[in-house]
Amino acid sequence: MLIAATIAILVVMIMATIRAIMGPTVYDRVLAVNMFGTKTVLLISLLGFVMGRPEFLDIAIVYALINFISVIGVLRYSDNFTLKKSEAQKK
């Protein structure tokens, strides 16, 4: 069941990557990347159990924190002037 859950999470990560590539707005991409990061935390903890090395959980904790900080950082940046301007130029 551990391996089945790992495969399911890998499939979901592929789906999130597809949305991140073809997302029409910046926020779709940020949403997909956020989901990808959450699923990465789950994948690392599951792989630790599959391979019998639960020390991987430390990496999962650090990855959860990095994911949160990066999403908040990108959102603060998107409130900025430059990103809006580049979006307007694209249209």
């Binding site: 069941m1 551990l2 089945a4 859950a5 399911a8 999470i9 499939v11 979901v12 789906m15 999130a16 597809i18 949305r19 707005t25 926020y27 779709d28 940020v30 949403l31 997909a32 956020n34 989901m35 959450t38 699923k39 935390v41 789950l42 903890s45 599951l46 159990f49 639960p54 959980l57 430390d58 999962a60 904790i61 959860a64 924190l65 994911n67 949160f68 999403v71 908040i72 959102l75 998107s78 409130d79 809006k84």
Partner: protein, 107 residues
């Protein structure tokens, strides 16, 4: 204990998959965010509870509980910040307009 853990992992995988299908198939940004924001927290909690049930070490349990608590706090916060930023940058108007175009072209 193995059976209960397998049940939790199965529910978590199902929720993950439904969130993934939701992010691919839903038509506009806010519905996609609904799919992800709702399933993400519960799926993470289910899978981590399933892992807690089969782990034998106390330290591993503590780490899993730390990850669980962190996800419970972080995931809604990130969703809220994302929706807030999208609203402040007038994403609603654009999406509404494109939806109106879609419905008018359908009818």
């Amino acid at each position: 204990m193995q059976v209960i853990s397998a049940l939790f992992l199965l529910i978590g995988s199902f929720l993950c998959l439904s969130g993934g299908i939701g992010i691919l198939r839903f038509p506009d940004f806010y519905t996609r965010m609904h799919a992800v924001g709702v399933t993400d927290t519960l799926a993470t909690a289910m899978i981590l509870i399933g892992l807690i049930l089969i782990s034998s070490d106390f330290l591993v349990d503590v780490k899993l509980v730390i990850i669980l608590l962190m996800t419970l706090f972080i995931s809604p916060t990130a969703s809220h910040a994302l929706a807030n930023a999208a609203l402040h940058n007038d994403l609603a108007k654009k999406d509404k307009k494109s939806n109106d175009e879609v419905t008018s072209s359908n009818s």
